[in-house]
């Protein structure tokens, strides 16, 4: 499902509790999500993980884990240590890796790891209805959301924030950040309550250098990709 910024998710299923030190464990629909706070240094984190045992560890081994690195900048060396000193030695099944740090995501992807919410359950969700991520907050500079499906942001999207979605993106408030809707292709749309973004990305199309001189700047708009062209409509209710 979703790869999101901090505090966007509510725990699903099992109760939330503290693991070793500051590591937060969350029960989810797909397994156990282990959240590693950025404030814990790399060495301390590994020490804490080495002490991870008991029922929680057994549960995590059984159903798989998602490792959420939050905004931590992951180095190659630390990734290798994390794998060799925790994942492999502990025999954990890692379903996916999560982060909202762009460099960390790039490293994980270039190393061939699955990022974002685990794919397990996606097809089931699609059968049951649209795979939408609804965020009831604003996105601040530096916060990044990736989602396989539609994203609905019930807040503002400030400059420096990013949303990447394989489906449509709807921003209820002011849209000043970077949005890429339909990132895997297809005809999707971006809607905003107040459009003030310097660029939009829809499918394989990029429209940049936008500014206050365009007619629909600051207005509520729907931008869609239709027959390989970007079409902008003012959103009037």
């Amino acid at each position: 499902m979703a790869e999101t910024v901090e505090s966007l998710e509510s725990p699903k299923g099992a109760a939330e509790h503290r693991g070793p030190s500051e590591i937060l464990l969350k029960g989810t629909g797909y397994g156990v999500r282990m959240i590693f706070p950025e404030s814990v240094p790399d060495d301390s984190l590994l020490e804490d993980l080495n002490r991870f045992s008991g029922d929680a560890a057994r549960l995590a081994r059984g159903i798989g884990v998602v490792l959420d690195l939050q905004g931590r900048t992951l180095s190659r060396a630390f990734l290798l240590r994390l794998l060799s000193e925790f994942v492999w030695t502990g025999d954990f099944r890692v379903l996916s890796w999560m982060s909202y740090n762009a460099d960390t995501l790039d490293l994980l992807r270039s190393s061939g790891f699955s990022t974002g919410e685990p794919s397990a359950g996606k097809s089931e969700k699609r059968e049951n209805g649209p795979n939408s991520l609804v965020l009831i907050q604003s996105l601040r500079s530096g916060q990044r959301v990736e989602h396989d499906g539609d994203v609905v942001l019930l807040g503002h999207m400030n400059e420096g924030a990013e949303i990447y979605a394989s489906g449509n993106v709807f921003v209820r408030g002011r849209l000043k950040g970077v949005v890429h809707a339909g990132m895997h292709g297809g005809e999707f749309s971006i809607s905003a309550g107040q459009f003030e973004a310097r660029q939009v990305r829809l499918g394989g199309k990029l429209c940049s250098s936008l500014g206050a001189d365009i007619e629909w700047w600051g207005k509520a708009v729907v931008i869609s990709l239709e027959k390989d062209s970007l079409v902008v409509r003012e959103l009037k209710l």
């Binding site: 910024v5 901090e6 505090s7 950025e38 404030s39 814990v40 240094p41 301390s44 939050q70 905004g71 604003s138 601040r140 500079s141 530096g142 916060q143 503002h156 400030n158 400059e159 420096g160």
Partner: protein, 268 residues
């Protein structure tokens, strides 16, 4: 002792973190509070100079953490006002000289001694900022009314929120009313509209800030300049007093207060 640990931060450099820390520390101490100003900018310390205490620095907080001295040996007492202390940073070390755990330990020690622990954060979002913020309960974010500063403040607020700091309050520094009137500077309403956090004070641009930094005498010691009065008002709001926001920009009838009323949808 009831103690509050407050990190003063911004993301962007040069927006007035150290000036704010020194002036609030003096104002709070003059109001009878027991205060320590902690310079967390390891390697680029300035708070001692701005507070006029550079000649009296012997040890620094890295010495405390490394066991080279006791906390009270590193604390520099300001003789001009009771209850005001400075805990300097090391100038010859780097930000990596301290860990998050050590900063939390230091804050725990300071909580036992002081009512207000004001931590002057370095610029940036890396370990220096994180270490400065890790032991704090709450945060004051400084932003000047410029787009880069506001964007960096937005980034910092997101990080502070993810670290669980609350409340996170905003100081708009170096506001130039004439430029706002001329439409060449963001006004406070614009900044608040983007950052969407509680405003605790607005400090107007004031030449006396530069003079006071060079003299090593924070404005709130005695000065009645606009900036000094603004810092005093902020210190009072920090202690929970309800201090009205003055109208810096009355000439065109669009004062700050009117802007805030507009922001919350109230009639002027």
């Amino acid at each position: 002792m009831d103690s509050r640990v407050i990190v003063i931060t911004s993301g962007k450099g040069g927006v007035g973190k150290t000036t704010t820390t020194s002036n609030l520390a003096v104002a709070l101490a003059r109001a009878g509070r027991r205060v320590v100003a902690v310079d967390a900018d390891i390697g680029l310390r300035n708070l001692d100079v701005v507070m006029g205490l550079e000649n009296r620095v012997v040890y620094n907080f890295i010495d405390v953490l490394e066991g080279n001295c006791r906390l009270n040996q590193a604390l520099v007492r300001d003789k001009r006002v009771d209850n005001l202390f400075l805990l300097p940073a090391a100038q010859t070390r780097t930000k990596d000289a301290v860990s998050s755990e050590q900063m939390e330990e230091l804050c725990a020690l300071l909580r036992e001694e002081f009512e207000y622990v004001l931590i002057d954060s370095p610029a940036g979002i890396e370990s220096g900022f994180r270490n400065a913020a890790v032991g704090a309960d709450e945060a004051l974010v400084i932003a000047t009314p410029e787009v880069p500063s506001v964007r960096d403040a937005d980034r910092i607020i997101g990080l502070l929120e993810s670290m669980g700091k609350a409340p996170i309050r905003l100081i708009v520094n170096r506001l130039r009313s004439q430029m706002v009137r001329d439409g060449e500077m963001l006004d406070v309403t614009d900044v608040l509209d983007i950052l969407a956090i509680e405003l605790i004070g607005v400090v107007p641009e004031d030449d006396s800030v530069v003079k006071s930094a060079n003299r090593g005498e924070p404005l709130t010691f005695s000065d009645a300049s606009p900036a000094a009065l603004a810092f005093q008002r902020i210190s009072m709001r920090l202690t929970g007093k309800d201090v009205p926001f003055p109208k810096f920009d009355e000439e065109n009838g669009r004062g700050l207060f009117a802007g805030i009323r507009k922001l919350f949808g109230m009639k002027s």
